[in-house]
Symmetry: C2
Subunit: 262 residues, 2 copies
DNA sequence: GGCGTCCACTTGTCTAGATATCTAAAGGAG
DNA sequence: CTCCTTTAGATATCTAGACAAGTGGACGCC
């Protein structure tokens, strides 16, 4: 096995009290940060680093696992460890639910993605009546049974978002809202047709590490958090008419809000 | 060493092709989820799990590292591995910069935290003139030199947020904004006194894993992402007068926005 | 009582292997 | 030329053990 190009990575400092696996992770992180390895590029193999630093393979692997946890690299079985490319981000503007965006027949997601030149998909469509979770029930002021609309959004084949809309049964049952395709303008347009004039939305935003379920559904790489957004839509009477629970791959989104300085 | 209480954790399935360390992590995750271990409680020690499952210690440690990456548990050297308690969250409302909140002498952070019964602190105060990063310069329409106000916020001794405000030098130099304590109502009140009537804010929100620097500054446990918020304040002429770059411990915050359904 | 030492238990770090599985390219059979 | 096998090299999993270092209680000395 040929040695690494000299100067690409430094040496260990045996006098340092910083753990060896951290020193190696530091050097790799620094090299990536300086652009010595570019996006998508393969890092030296475990065997090469074992050779270069004179440590055991488990120690090198430990270093890699640190960088994976930071979301900097990802390993591919049988191929190597690569600098994780930063995917294109989808920008969600705070006016994305404005009435003027509700004209077209297609959903906001499809229109917007097409405009950005990517190939959008929606799958895992599931619509059913179920018992509200305590949290959702509380937002509806105690309503127990709701209609749930679940769907997953993909961009160019990559899952980026998983969303569930909840609506009180007395509003949604037997309406187009309970159909797989609710029609032009989506469920917000239907709600307004049904006499529920939308007045405002509340959005709550959290960020956390994904559950194993979410890792599977969104095919998340390790070291990628999720953004958890819960939106509640209120009508003019102040009644909550929809709660939408959305989990997004954090590396695929930037949320953008415009606030008046009243 | 006494064995674990029977039934607390299951057994391994040797026929499964799921890796042993994953099976162990699954069982611990499930036990935590079911409340068999409550917040802050100590999990069985590595030695006990080695005994219980009949595996090597490194395998048990691997399982723990998975759970750490998920933010479920944290290890304390010499003591044990504990279920990570969920800290109280600070709720940031979208109207937190409304003029009506700008009356008091104390900063919004101090007032709000006092009201919530916690002990707030601000430290690492640093104010200096510097060269704008390309990103900040772009938001200011090309301005090169800015005043930077850096500070760290703590609740009950725990760092929760690190923020830097940037202001164009021609606005801030020689004003109270360049002083450690800008006075009642903070720098937004001073900006308005200086004739920069605030019109609106733009906020951009991202979530990601922290850099090692941020882990240190915010004393983050492993498996805790950060929320990165960049706010730009615009005056009535549409000029950007401040850019505030904030990094928050994601487990300490819920952001809340209210949007009109126009 | 107060203080320090010792010890058992804990997690942290590192080694040196063994075996499994996946990938991609090379080489051979047809 | 096509298809299959082989093979080298890569990561994935797991073991058994060594030593380091932090924690907290027991114990004995003063």
């Amino acid at each position: 096995m040929s040695p690494l190009p000299s100067g690409l990575l430094g040496e260990l400092d045996p006098t340092s009290d910083r753990a060896v696996f951290r020193q190696i992770a530091d050097q790799l992180r620094e090299a990536i940060g300086r652009g010595r390895f570019s996006e998508g590029e393969k890092l030296p193999s475990e065997a090469e680093l074992v050779e270069h630093y004179g440590v055991s393979r488990m120690t090198v692997r430990h270093s890699f696992s640190i960088l994976q946890g930071e979301g900097l690299v990802h390993a591919e079985h049988g191929k190597g460890v690569f600098v994780r490319p930063r995917p294109p981000v989808r920008r969600l503007a705070s006016d994305r639910f404005a009435r003027r965006h509700r004209k077209q027949g297609k959903s906001a997601f499809l229109v917007e993605a097409d405009a950005a030149g990517s190939h959008p998909q929606v799958d895992s469509l599931e619509i059913k009546e179920e018992k509200a979770t305590p949290d959702v029930a509380a937002r509806f002021g105690g309503v127990r049974r709701v209609l749930a609309r679940r769907r997953r959004y993909l961009l160019d084949g990559r899952p980026v978002e998983f969303a569930t809309s909840y609506l009180p049964l007395d509003i949604a049952r037997g309406t187009p809202i309970a159909q797989p395709n609710p029609g032009p303008g989506g469920i917000y347009a239907r709600l307004e047709e049904l006499g529920h004039h939308l007045h405002h939305f509340d959005e709550e935003i959290r960020a956390r590490m994904p559950s194993p379920d979410e890792v599977r559904t969104l095919r998340l790489a390790s070291g990628v958090p999720v953004i958890h957004l819960i939106r509640t839509a209120y009508d003019s009477q102040g009644r909550a008419v929809e709660v939408c629970d959305t989990v997004m791959a954090a590396d695929a989104y930037v949320l953008s809000y415009q606030l008046p300085a009243t």
